[in-house]
Symmetry: C2
């Protein structure tokens, strides 16, 4: 199985690297990082560069395509080269997936029309403008599309995908290999669980307030 | 606060990128990726390149140093250039940290002598040879050293570190920002929880069997 992960300037690194670490693990599974053109792509912090080993024109099929989020993708929502590539690769995939605001890009490409989908909790409503039904879940499967919630949710989504493809034992082996036995020191990872003043503060920062 | 993350050929990407995504988030916190020399460093899968923006000789102090794991570090356990750098940077840090088998490198540098420490569940016992007391916990603070368990544990450890430095509200805000509300589809992330045949299989693979 080949997974193609689309990266672009201003993507959020953990959105991509969480699922990468899962999907690169089973024997015979490989991952390729793809961008508009080959070369270094900088993450949203500016402090991290990843190599795109392939340009879009070099990747014409994949078993899994994964689109990470990141504020850099807002300017790609009308980038016809990217959107055409997503539509073309989607015709070849078994699974078309996104993490965080990556679902906005899938939506802009027309791939979420009539589907239930999720994304970062701050960016669920915009999915409606692409004909999707926003759902507040950790990950959402609808047809061959699996969308994940914000940033860290890609790890859960990728393990779920492995389970769907290879069965629970293979997914559990990968989970054990990456020792994914999460134990966050706080319980504030969703707006339903975080104290309201913290939800308000994070919302204000995201809105540029 | 400046975090220096040491990367090297054959490191495990999520070990580094999980904590990076946490430690780069608070206002005024920055992260630098450091390697033997500037340039591209390939992760253990071979399928991913990260940019080291700094060479070792360019980074002489840091508030936090973080050492990821990965099988590529076995050949560095007697690399005096790396070990000397770790000892020197440790003299400047507030926190000296590792994820997964990164604790072997801290141990080889002499930085875990007499300390409680952890790492990937398959590589705890080797810590004894460096004078450390291996502990099977998600992360372990001893003095200014914080070591984390395998791969994904770096996210938990980094949130804990933020809480220690900035208080719980700041750490909770970052947790909410990265929507770290983990919900793995299976409960097999530690050898105590995974079915025994899966523990045996993963152990055999790791032992080259």
């Amino acid at each position: 199985m080949k997974t193609a992960i689309l990266i672009y300037d201003g993507f959020t690194a953990l959105d991509a690297i969480g699922p990468y670490e899962v999907l690169r693990s089973p024997p015979g599974w490989e991952v390729e990082f793809v961008a508009g053109e080959r070369g270094e792509v900088r993450a949203d912090s500016g402090a991290l560069g990843l190599s795109a080993d392939r340009g879009l024109d070099e990747v014409t099929e994949a078993d899994v395509v994964l689109v990470p989020g990141g504020e850099g993708n807002r300017k790609l929502l009308d980038d016809e080269e990217i959107l055409s590539w997503l539509r073309a690769i989607d015709r070849t995939t078994t699974w078309t997936t996104s993490v965080c605001t990556g679902s906005l890009l899938l939506g802009a490409a027309g791939l979420l029309e009539g589907r239930r989908a999720t994304g970062h909790w701050l960016f669920l409503e915009p999915l409606r403008s692409y004909g999707a039904e926003p759902v507040s879940e950790r990950y959402v499967e609808d047809g061959k599309t699996i969308t994940a919630a914000g940033v860290s949710a890609g790890i859960d989504m990728a393990l779920y995908l492995l389970g769907r493809e290879l069965g629970p034992e293979a997914a559990q082996a990968v989970q054990l290999g990456i020792e994914y036995d999460p134990s966050p020191p706080f319980d504030a990872g969703s707006p339903a669980k975080a104290p309201q003043p913290i939800v308000d503060a994070v919302t204000a920062i995201a809105r540029g307030g």
